[in-house]
Each structure stands twice: as structure tokens, then as C-alpha cells.
Symmetry: C2
Subunit: 174 residues, 2 copies
């Protein structure tokens, strides 16, 4: 059984973070999370963009703005995993994490409130080096799903990419 994954992206700023949060949401979707919540500023354009990708490429991923992060974390019925460069190396905890049914993966922005570290069941590092919450999320999900997400099929897709040695092959399904 693969765990059911939800993502919480903290502190979105409509202008400054628009591309980074979009990348987070697209990674969450492509790497088989069910849903991404985001806090900070509500962003219609972000939501429209993700819905557009869903419509074309399929699947039932969704994105939802939440007014504050505390309520969603405290009420989440499952394990909470915060991705941070200050945490415990992923390989030390991955087997335990894979055994859970339902996980909220929390990814920060510039300043993560200190409480997040203590409200989370796990603080997990994808390397203890500074890099990218987008990369951390992707590598985390790849480990949780054991690479199975890499060849996943999405239901109700309107278009589908066929793997090519060179160039682009896209088929319309409807």
C-alpha cells in the first residue's frame, strides 16, 4: 500500500513566489500527491494554472487555499512530515515513513515559523545543504513511492506524451 500524500506549502506570496509555488504544485501532482494546500496569499492565477494542467493531463489532483497553516496541521488525521535542511536525513527514516497510511508533507518558504518544527512528527532533510523546496518535495515523494510515480498513468487525460528518443510526441485522447 502506498501512503496517501497531501502537501502543505507555507507562506505563498502572489508576486514573488508565483513560479516556485507553481513548481511545487506541479511536482506534487506529477509525483502523485492527492492535493496541495497553500497558506499565505490566495492566488487565483496559481489555481487556474493547476486546474488547466489537470484538465489536459488528467488525474484528480487538487489545490486549496487555507487561511492559516495551524488549523490544517493540527486537524490533519495522519503523520506530519516537515521537509527542512535542519532535519534528520531521509534515508534514516524512509522505511518508517513509507509504512504510514496518510501523510501531510509540509514545505516552507523563506521564514518557517519555529512551531512548525514542533507540530510535525518528523523533520526530514533531503541533504543538510541549502537548495530548493521543489527539489526536496520531488526527491521525498520519489522515495516514498519507490519510483513508481515515474511511470504513473493519469485518468481522464485529454493529451498524453509518448516517450521519445528525440523530439516530441503528443497524442490527443479525446
Amino acid at each position: 500500500m502506498m501512503p496517501e500524500i497531501y502537501v502543505l506549502r507555507l507562506g505563498h506570496r502572489r508576486n514573488r513566489d508565483k513560479r516556485v509555488t507553481t513548481h511545487c504544485a506541479l511536482v506534487a501532482r506529477a509525483f502523485l500527491a492527492k492535493k496541495m494546500y497553500y497558506s499565505g496569499e490566495k492566488d487565483e492565477n496559481l489555481e487556474i494554472k493547476i486546474k488547466g494542467v489537470n484538465e489536459r493531463f488528467g488525474g484528480d489532483f487538487s489545490i486549496e487555499y487555507v487561511n492559516g497553516w495551524r488549523e490544517i496541521i493540527e486537524n490533519f488525521q495522519g503523520k506530519k512530515v516537515h521537509l527542512t535542511m535542519y532535519g534528520i536525513p531521509i534515508l534514516e527514516e524512509i522505511e518508517k515513513i513509507k509504512s504510514f497510511d496518510k501523510i501531510l508533507v509540509i514545505v516552507g518558504s523563506t521564514k518557517v515559523p519555529k512551531e512548525i518544527y514542533f507540530l510535525s512528527d518528523f523533520n526530514i532533510a533531503i541533504t543538510n545543504q541549502p537548495h530548493s523546496e521543489i527539489a526536496a518535495l520531488a526527491v521525498f515523494l520519489d522515495k516514498v513511492f519507490d519510483g513508481k510515480e515515474l511511470n504513473a498513468e493519469f485518468s481522464n487525460a485529454k493529451i498524453k506524451i509518448l516517450p521519445s528518443k528525440a523530439g516530441k510526441r503528443v497524442v490527443k485522447l479525446v
Copy 2:
């Protein structure tokens, strides 16, 4: 033997791409690439930022602007792997790729020139879904290095993060 990895980031735009290219460079460094070349617009701030991370967190990663992508690709003495959602699934080619000594990993931006697909030895997909070049680069390097990058030590670091179950522990080394 682990392959020696170089990254080429295509088409950087100083304003629009500053955070995305910074994330690419930080991922390249944290996931043990030797160097990142970038084409498009030269960006002093990007270079200063990456040098600052190197100075504090160690290692000998470097970043270099290149005037055009063609020369660097054509002159590269090693295999060229272009990451693209249109490519062949990574798991089909990873064993072959891991056997090479020296690899140039090419990551695009919005519009990748068609020739890139044909100048590359491999076009590799990290899922055939739209997501993020930052995520694709991280997952690719994690597969090439078999997760060994996740616990790597960086030489000459001034500060180092000690893994913690909660909170932050940073030690000064000089």
C-alpha cells in the same frame, strides 16, 4: 566510480528566472554536480549568491556563464543528457547512464530549441508530466548517485548543519 556531472541551464532571464535558476544551481551543488553553466542573460547576482553558499557551506562547485549553448554542448567531452518531459523514462536508461564517466545534464527553460533534442545523446523524462526542471534535475542526480549525495560532506565549510529531530543546530567550523 560515480560519474562527473556538469549541468547546463538554458535560456536564463535575469528577472523572470532569478529564483528558478538559483534553485537549479543550488540543487546542482547540493546533489554533487561539479559545475553549472548557464546561457541566456549573464547574471552577477546569481553568481554572487552561489559563491556565497559555497563559501559558507563548502565544496568546490562553480557556476559559469556561457555566451551560447551550442559551443558548450558540441565541445563537451562526455555524454549529453537532456531532461525533458518528452523523453524516455529515466528508469529505462539509468543503468547505462550511471556507467558513463562524464555527463552534461541539460535543463531547459520555457522554449527549448529543437536542436537540443538531437544534439543530446539521451532525452530523459522524469515522469512524462509537466512539472519543474529543478525537480527533474534533483531526481536525476539522486538516481545517478544512488542516494549517496544525501549524506555527502563538503570540504572547507565554514558552517555545517547537524541533523535534528526538531529545531535548528548549526555549527561554525572556523
